[in-house]
Symmetry: C2
Subunit: 712 residues, 2 copies
């Protein structure tokens, strides 16, 4: 009866008092840079273009100093949703939605997302599950567009809260806990609370539920939140039940945001039990100067709003305001704070992965980026091939050349500048390697100053007695280089210099890409790789146009095998300094693209080749394709009509560079065979029966010439 | 009789004396850097690849101090063969042979050249012309390979001298002139010599002949060299004739090289007259400390060698020795001494001119290099287009963009380095322009930071009241830019941004080259230029595939006109950040090559276009070509099969960018029409009746987004 009286009295009081709306301090999202970093990694390596919601966790605490924002922390551990957040933190589960473009982010339906998130809370309320685990009422959602190239982030956080039609009101003012309870009662509460919390923390299942609890004001006993369900009207009379929650708020007069949904839960299921009111302990559990105290906690007498559990989901609010206190997303620029090398690496990585994610899911980027590429020749072709490789993610690029940068180079050779020409010109290879590192510091670019030995061109300035040793040395160096690389690009400007690397590349089963230029035409050719029984194509219809990779010809097979093209070939290699500007650009890019397509074929260099024709829909009219399309044996292009043709030819059994007699002689006699072939080209002729590779030079004695060969 | 006795006596004496061979001091070529400079200019601008002998002149003097080499000077005036060389210099005519490659220089038939040059002297001897003009016996020849890129020169000088079977000998030792003549006689000689020389120098024809003369020892009178021909045996007895010549030698005991052929002339025609001997005054005419003296002159008694004028040409000698005193060419490196900017300019110039000289004589390099090019967009395409233009000699390049360099850019965008990405990234346009100047300092590269106004994309961050003015300003800026350039490249990554420059370019009759990229495909298109009556193609067979330049469509015509290609078009412009690496490289180069071919067509942008097919021999199968080949309307290429197709389409009469209603509205309403179209795209739709160019963006209020658009 006394209780009833008290209640009646109170009701009268409140009727006369002016009821104030409860003001809640919203959460402030606090994103650790580690979170964004991890997000970028996850997106690059796992989510890619998926926009599915990803479960993550955040946490808040109730020990923050006065006037700090009510932080909801999200850090690098956000993805480990089952992990503990520590005894002083309260876990909040959330969802992460990563959008792929700024347009998607702009056009995202934030209203619908809010409603969806609200409905999730409401369904929890309806199931009464939060009585057992009140943390189910705490949720957040993060919508973001991470610009992985720039390391900038657009994001917007939602802390969904259900809003009954009427607002929660408060009787009187929020009161400090010290003004409500005696010191004795306070101590008793703390003891009981710690005991209660420790018990819950023992068990994985109950851990999270300690964010809210009940207090019996009579004895300051602390009960789990679910305790309220076990009380019947009768029992309830013997208790003076109070709601307690770990309050993230730091404001004197405002409870934290997480109280909202707790009140909705009580309003929905316990309005009558509580007579429409609940006394709330907003527990703020601080430690300052080594002393723990809860004296900043406040107590509110909240008037509930009856909510019909059968009703529709109440309104939802909860989008965070931005720095201008407006409802809108936030923007974060982390680029300055991050290691620029990492930024560069991630940005380049992303560009490539986007290609895979958006268009060619089976694209093997690693087989490309892991290819160690040897570029023989660092002129117009070498520079552009290197740039294209770099763009494809290739890290290991070795330049070989023995020329210096001259004044005519920079406008055509994209790795050199005017300043590289001064004082006689820097060595091209060192200059090119340095340039690559200026473009992408993490690239492993190396320059090797080496004259590639070639038949009929003994190393200049060397007398006969030194000749053998010197040639040996250069050959050995070239062998080592070819062995240490996966792909060999022949980008020189003389025919003869291609002989040795062609032979060595074939012998070591490397992918060899040969590029030769004419005035307005170019030839790109992948040499045959691997060995197999030569099959006779006779009698098999169409076999003439499909050749296994192991039987594809090399640059030196070509003339003889296709005499009809000899005019073209003669024009190549002799005019490299007077090509139309586009020729080396187009040829270099197509050579790299052919490589990339080839590397994406299961057989790599051993993939068959056939003549490719254009088809109406722009797709290659060929069965011999990789996931990227055609992998022709040769691409011969003409700027005079902007057309490419794609002949295919078998290796020639008398070829001076790739035929069996030559390869066997090398296998048998090793470097000695090579030295002999280079110093006495006639020996090579004898072996294969072919005409000389070189034209004799008159033996007029001209000492100064040798060091000043024209090169470009 | 007395004379006879004397002669007999002398003969006896000489018989008993040991006769020594006359040693001649050879000429040393002395090439002024100005000569090489002029040679480079002449080769670049006039001779080009011609190897014809070019007449030049050199000169020597007889006043050099003792022990200096006997210089034959060749300087920048060498080409002015008729010009005076000054009264103290003696002109020598010569020939200049410029070889084009180091191989040509190595393989040059120096022996034959020597013989040829000798025969020229011999034919002069036989004609007796040198009696009238003894300078005809002095000749030189210069064979050179000038490396115009490096400003290094290989050269070899020849001073051809005929050698009789027996050598010229000398009686006794060379004697100083002071020991031969009294002071009185010497003074008399000088007076007579000066008078003689001055008379000859009065007349152009006789000027050069003063290099040799005759002296009557009796009275020290000086006679022209031809005087000897007028003497008969009788007259000769009354004179004591002595040969005088301006001696370039500085050696005490050796006459200069120019005496050789004089002695051959006398040996051939005057052996008997002179009784096989001639006394020679090697006149060295110096001035030291303001005093003129000839006291270093020497006198020789030379025994001639009888030469039958009917005989074959005697042996010839005369190749100069090099710095190692060996018979071989010399090498000169002028690169360090020259202005590097000039070196760079000449080297670049040469590369282009070689193309013209060797392969396309009618190539108009100036129409290319004089083109002022506006590059709208400074990403992957913009960088590569600029590089190709630079290589073609284009000096005026203006970049327009409003983005900053980001970390993913450098590996794809060939004008940027890693360091350009730091601290938020440099503005692309400034960075690109600076990079161009680092490549070629004489280029005029400018960067304009400008957002290109586009329909449906009002300038961000601007409220309605500012909008009009701001749009106006940007449009005005773009109009000025397009007006100030000849060629407009559209290299942006959005479709909408191409609208305004397409319209303006068409309106101002500029060449507009539009490049758009897909993942592994590209489109290069030249927009129509000029205005003409639209001709109906109906009924004319084949007319569908040839379209006059004025009727060619633009990028916005295309979709509608060729709905079958809409899939391709949609894929363009939307994925530029995820193209295969080769796509922008190939597309940029082909766009520049298309421009270059187009500029070499007499009609330039107004040239007709037709569908181009490849033909068997690689030449374009089209009548509508420039001297460089095909000038298709569009090039659509596919890396999936390495093929290009070349569709052609007429302008569409409802095109939003190039149709008559649009162009007329702009002509009528000027900028106001453009502003309206951009700020209210629906007005454009109404005008043309076409669907919107843009997709609406949701109007959610997102302040921070605007400044952080994704771009690449
Ligand atoms: Zn071969
Ligand atoms: Zn159009």
């Amino acid at each position: 009866m006394a209780n009833n009286m008290d209640d009646e009295d109170k009701k009268k009081k409140t009727d006369t008092q002016e009821l104030k709306n409860v003001k809640f301090l919203p959460f402030s999202s606090c994103m650790d840079p580690g979170f964004w970093n991890k997000l970028c990694q996850q997106k690059l390596n796992e989510y890619r273009l998926s926009e599915d919601a990803i479960p993550i966790k955040g946490y808040y605490c109730n020990y923050l100093a006065e006037n700090l924002p009510s932080f909801l922390n999200i850090d690098h551990s956000a993805w480990d949703i089952d992990d503990d957040v520590g005894t002083k933190h309260y876990k909040v589960l959330g969802s992460l939605k990563i959008l792929n473009t700024i347009e998607d982010f702009k056009n995202f339906n934030y209203t619908k997302h809010l409603e969806d998130e609200g409905r999730m809370i409401w369904s929890e309320v309806m199931t009464k599950g939060p009585f057992k685990d009140p943390s189910l009422l705490n949720r957040f959602s993060l919508v973001t567009f991470p610009n992985l190239k720039k390391f900038t982030f657009h994001y917007w956080c939602l802390f969904p809260s259900l809003c009954p039609n009427k607002k929660f009101t408060i009787e009187g003012h929020p009161v400090n806990v010290n003004d409500c309870f005696s010191l004795d009662k306070m101590q008793k509460f703390v003891e009981n609370y710690d005991k209660f919390k420790n018990e819950l923390l023992q068990h994985q299942q109950s851990k999270n539920s300690c964010c809210a609890f009940l207090i019996d004001e009579n004895d300051m006993n602390v009960h789990p939140f679910s305790y309220i369900q076990s009380l019947n009207e009768e029992e309830k009379k013997d208790h003076k039940i109070m709601l307690g929650f770990a309050d993230p708020s730091t404001a004197n007069s405002k409870p934290g945001w997480s109280l909202r949904n707790l009140l909705v839960l009580l309003s929905t299921h316990c309005y009558d039990l509580l007579n429409g009111k609940v006394r709330v302990l907003c527990l703020r559990d601080r430690t300052s100067n080594g002393v723990r105290h809860i004296s900043h906690s406040i107590v509110l007498n909240v008037c509930l709003v009856r909510i019909d559990p059968q009703s529709d989901c109440p309104n939802v609010i909860g989008w965070e305001r931005n720095s201008k206190e407006q409802l809108g997303p936030r923007f974060l620029d982390l680029s300055s704070g991050m290691d620029p090398y990492n930024l560069s690496e991630s940005a380049v990585d992303l560009n490539l992965k986007l290609m895979k994610w958006r268009l060619v899911p089976d694209l093997d980027l690693e087989v490309i980026s892991n290819s160690r590429c040897l570029l023989l020749g660092s002129g117009t072709l070498g520079c552009n091939v290197a740039r294209c490789l770099l763009g494809w993610g290739v890290r290991n690029i070795t330049f070989v050349d023995n020329a210096r940068v001259s004044y005519s180079n920079p406008v055509r050779q994209s790795l050199f500048n005017f300043s590289d020409c001064l004082d006689g010109g820097k060595p091209k290879v060192a200059c090119a390697a340095a340039s690559i590192k200026q473009i992408f510091p993490l690239a492993n670019a190396v320059g090797i100053n080496l004259f590639i030995p070639m038949p009929g061109h003994p190393i200049p300035g060397i007398n006969i007695s030194q000749l053998h040793d010197s040639t040996c040395q250069d050959i050995t160096h070239l062998i080592e280089l070819i062995r240490a690389h996966d792909v060999i690009f022949l980008l020189m400007d003389t025919r003869e210099s291609r002989w040795l690397p062609t032979l060595l590349g074939r012998s070591m089963e490397k992918i060899v890409l040969n590029v030769a230029l004419g005035f307005d035409s170019y030839l790109i050719m992948r040499h045959g790789v691997g060995f197999s029984e030569v099959t006779k194509s006779d009698g098999v219809e169409g076999a003439w146009k499909v050749v296994p990779g192991s039987q594809l010809g090399c640059y030196f097979c070509n003339d003889i095998f296709s005499p009809g093209n000899s005019h073209l070939d003669r024009s190549l290699d002799q005019q490299c300094t007077v090509t139309r500007l586009g020729v080396p650009y187009v040829a270099a890019s197509l050579a790299v693209e052919l490589l990339v397509s080839l590397l994406n074929h299961p057989l790599k260099g051993q993939a068959s080749a056939e003549i490719v024709n254009e088809s109406v829909d722009g797709l290659p009219d060929s069965k011999e394709v990789s996931i990227l399309g055609a992998i022709p044996h040769q691409i011969r292009g003409f700027l005079s009509n902007f057309c490419n043709i794609m002949p295919v030819c078998r290796s020639f059994n008398m070829c001076t560079a790739c035929s069996q007699p030559v390869l066997e002689a090398y296998k048998r006699d090793g470097i000695e065979f090579l030295v002999k072939s280079i110093n006495e080209p006639s020996s090579l002729e004898e072996l294969t029966g072919l005409t000389k590779l070189h034209t004799d030079t008159k033996d007029i004695k001209i000492e100064e010439l040798s060091d000043n060969e024209v090169s470009d």
